[in-house]
Amino acid sequence: MLSLFVVCLVFWLLLSGHGDVFHVTAGAAAAALVVWLNRADGTIGAVLQALPRLALHLPWLVAKIVRANLDVARRVLDPRLPIEPAVHRIHAPLRNDTAMTTLANSITLTPGTVTLDVEGEVLVVHALTASAAQELAGGAMTARVERLFGTAR
């Protein structure tokens, strides 16, 4: 819970931009209030622990988003509208909820694929194009999230 307090306080200081006694004290009080309000929530610690891993995941994801975005833009601007939309089921054996959420969010963020539902270890994904579906079926993103989080809880 100390880490949550530190994160909240640093966030406050970055938003306020003032380092004087009044602002720091008010920030510490607000951060303490947030910690106290969330005292019964056991999931926050796991989310905070995942933050450095998410930071490692981000540059790779951004590069993918840019590439996929250009591909979708090209298809939308193409007068023939070359799309092959279909629903696919992707098996992702990630036992950890945070890892599963990261994978589902990464899929949705990447243009051309949207996660519709989670059925146990299977992600229901709507793909705009056959190439986006193929890339997803290749499992590169699943393998990457798996490396970041590990398969076991």
Binding site: V76, L81, P85, L116
Partner: protein, 102 residues
């Protein structure tokens, strides 16, 4: 610096325009959802990068980076919520005539 700002804003506008065009051209709910979520990623991030480059304060740029990070979490959540609602309600996905790719 103003050239960088202009380039970022122009590129952001381009992707927003493509997203709007996509909503008009796409055949069904799910494919339109794809078009909309595109604007939220590259379009918004490029626009925010332009705004951050235009501000002369590092602190303001950091705040804009927070906004971008929030969108990276909020955008797929909202897109997923819409998509899942449609999927569970049984909205049929359009699979029509797959047009030849190039």
């Amino acid at each position: 610096m103003s050239a960088l700002v202009g380039a970022c804003l122009a590129a952001g506008l381009f992707f927003h325009g493509v997203a709007a065009l996509g909503v008009l051209r796409m055949p069904d709910f799910y494919t339109r959802l794809h078009a909309v979520s595109k604007a939220e990623t590259l379009g918004v991030v490029l626009t925010l990068a332009g705004v951050a480059a235009a501000s002369d304060s590092v602190l303001t740029a950091v705040k804009i980076a927070f906004v971008a990070m929030f969108l990276f979490l909020a955008n797929p959540t909202a897109t997923h919520a819409l998509g899942r609602a449609a999927f569970r309600l049984g909205v049929p996905p359009w699979t029509g005539e797959p047009e030849p790719d190039r």
